[in-house]
Every structure is written in C-alpha cells, then in structure tokens.
C-alpha cells in the first residue's frame, strides 16, 4: 500500500498534469516507470518490447488523462493499460516464436556470464511456457503484490478465472523449475 503523503503527491501531480503541466506528467512517469518496466519485461521477456509497451502505455495515459477520475492510483491506471498491451503483444509474439520453432529458426539460448543473469534466464524461460493470460496474472501477483480481486479488475476477468490462471501458471513453473530448486 502506498503512504498517504505519496498518494497526495500523486493526486496533486495528476491534477497539474490534467491542466497541461508537462513537468507534472514527467514526474508521474518517473514515479511509475520502474514498476511498469518490470511488469512489461516479465511479461514480454524482451527489453525493447518492454520499453515500447511502456511508451505506448504512457502515451495512452497522457492522451486520456482528462478522463482519469482518480478513483484508483495513477500507477494502477497505467499498470492496467500496460498489462492489456502486454497480453496483446505477447499473443502475437508467441505465434511468431512457435512458427520459428516449427521451421527451426529459433534463437539459441543466450550465454549468460553472471549467475544473476543465468538465474534470470532460467526464470524467464520458465515464464515463456505460460499463456499470455497466465503470465500476466502471475506477474501482477508476484511483481505488484496484487490481490486476486485487483488482478481481476486489471485484466478485466472474473476472480475465479484469475485463481485458475495463477494455479495453472504455478504448476507449469513448478515442472520447469523443480530441478533448479533441488540443486
């Protein structure tokens, strides 16, 4: 949960940004870009794709800022936009990855030098076995610390669906990662 001061600061920045204050919107981007990047990167497994989605999410937020009523936080609002963009992009990306696998053009796994990079690759590869919605639901829970209800609102699906998606996602990850965790 965010601190009240932080919420007030954000509300003031949103108010100023709505009146055309670019510096205020810049400050809002600065406050949220780390989190939005982590979400997008976890969902898309590619830095350039994640940056593209971030840019598009901020652009859409800026364009429709006047319709933002402030019922939720700005971060949550951008997170919702970014999540839906990520799901759409990941669906397309998976189709191309499958085609590449079928015709034998799949990329060779990158050789990571550092342990942290190897760990990151192991996790990202495991996440790559999930469907777009399973991945989005899991990332929102793990990265954002969201409740089932919040995830359901962000993704625009029922709470029961979110529970099922997260359950299936963890089962798949367990199968992929259990060998790694046993070491």
């Amino acid at each position: 949960m965010k601190e009240p001061d932080s919420q007030n600061e954000e509300a003031q920045l949103v108010h100023k940004a709505k009146q055309g204050d670019k510096e205020a919107f810049d400050a809002l981007m600065l406050m949220t870009q780390d989190y939005v990047f982590r979400l997008a990167y976890r969902m898309l497994d590619n830095k350039d794709d994640a940056l593209d989605v971030m840019q598009e999410a901020f652009y859409r937020a800026y364009r429709s800022l006047k319709s933002f009523r402030g019922d939720s936080s700005f971060r949550y609002w951008v997170e919702t936009i970014a999540t839906r963009l990520c799901i759409a992009r990941y669906r397309k990306k998976r189709i191309f990855v499958r085609i590449e696998e079928i015709v034998g053009l799949g990329k060779e796994p990158e050789q990571d030098n550092l342990d942290s990079e190897k760990e990151s690759r192991i996790l990202q590869d495991a996440l790559g076995t999930l469907t777009p919605r399973e991945r989005a639901a899991l990332v929102l829970q793990m990265e954002g610390g969201k409740s089932i209800k919040e995830i359901a609102n962000t993704m625009g699906v029922a709470e029961g669906t979110v529970k099922a998606l997260i359950h299936r996602a963890k089962e798949k990850l367990y199968k992929k990662l259990r060998k790694y965790f046993k070491r």
């Binding site: 670019k22 810049d26 981007m29 600065l30 870009q33 780390d34 990047f37 982590r38 990167y41 976890r42 830095k47 994640a50 940056l51 971030m54 840019q55 901020f58 652009y59 800026y62 942290s116 760990e119 990151s120 192991i122 996790l123 793990m142 990265e143 963890k170 990850l173 367990y174 990662l177 259990r178 965790f181």
Partner: protein
Amino acid sequence: MTNFDEKLKELWDATKPKLSDVEKAALRARFWAKMKAKRSRLFAYAIATAAVVVLALVATLNIEFHKNDEIILPVEISEYDLYEDFAYVSADTLLLELVEEEPDEVIELVAEQVDDAELLSMLTPDEREEILSMLENSL
C-alpha cells in the same frame, strides 16, 4: 507448493529487471519527442484540413458571385435609369460626348437620314426665313 512459492519469490526478487538512470531519462525524452512529433502531425493535418475547407468555401462563393452577376447586372442598368441620367443633359453635350468633340460626322449622318421637306414643315415661318437668309449669305 508453499515451499515452492517461497523459492519462486526468492528467485523472482533476485532477478528483478532494472533500468539505468540513463535509460530512464532516454525513455522520457523519447516519450516527449514522440508527443511533439504527434502534435506537429496533428497541427499540419489541422492546417491542411482548414485550407481545404477555405478553398471549398471560396470555390462555392465564387460560383455564387457569378450567379449573382448574371442575375443582377441587367436589372441594375435599366432603361429607366438611363432615361433619368440623360434627361437633364443638353443635346449638344450628349452629342459631344458621343462623338468625342467631332460632331461633323454625326451631323452629316443625321442629315442623311432626315427628310428635308418634313424638317422644313416643322419650322415656324420666321425660322424658315432665317435659314433661307443664312443659306443665301453662305452661297
């Protein structure tokens, strides 16, 4: 699964992707550059649209002007107006205006068209006497 959840959480936190300060600044700079480019495109589009509308309006109004010319001009210069304009101007002045200060050609032209007998019948006896005496003197 609880044990797995904990291990997954550890792995998740240990591998958090990060953006450097330079990357963050570059991202925001790209965002504003994109906004500026979109605004410029929108502005150019608005100007182009306005220009097309103005041209369409001018074209439409121009056609209307021509329509008006055809209708109004013949009415504006009516015979009545001409009569009013020339009613109080002397015949000599009119004649001079028409022939540009060279009345002889017009006098000759008029004389050819006039029947002498008819003209004489229109004169009074004193005018006839005066003209006859003028002719005798000139001869």
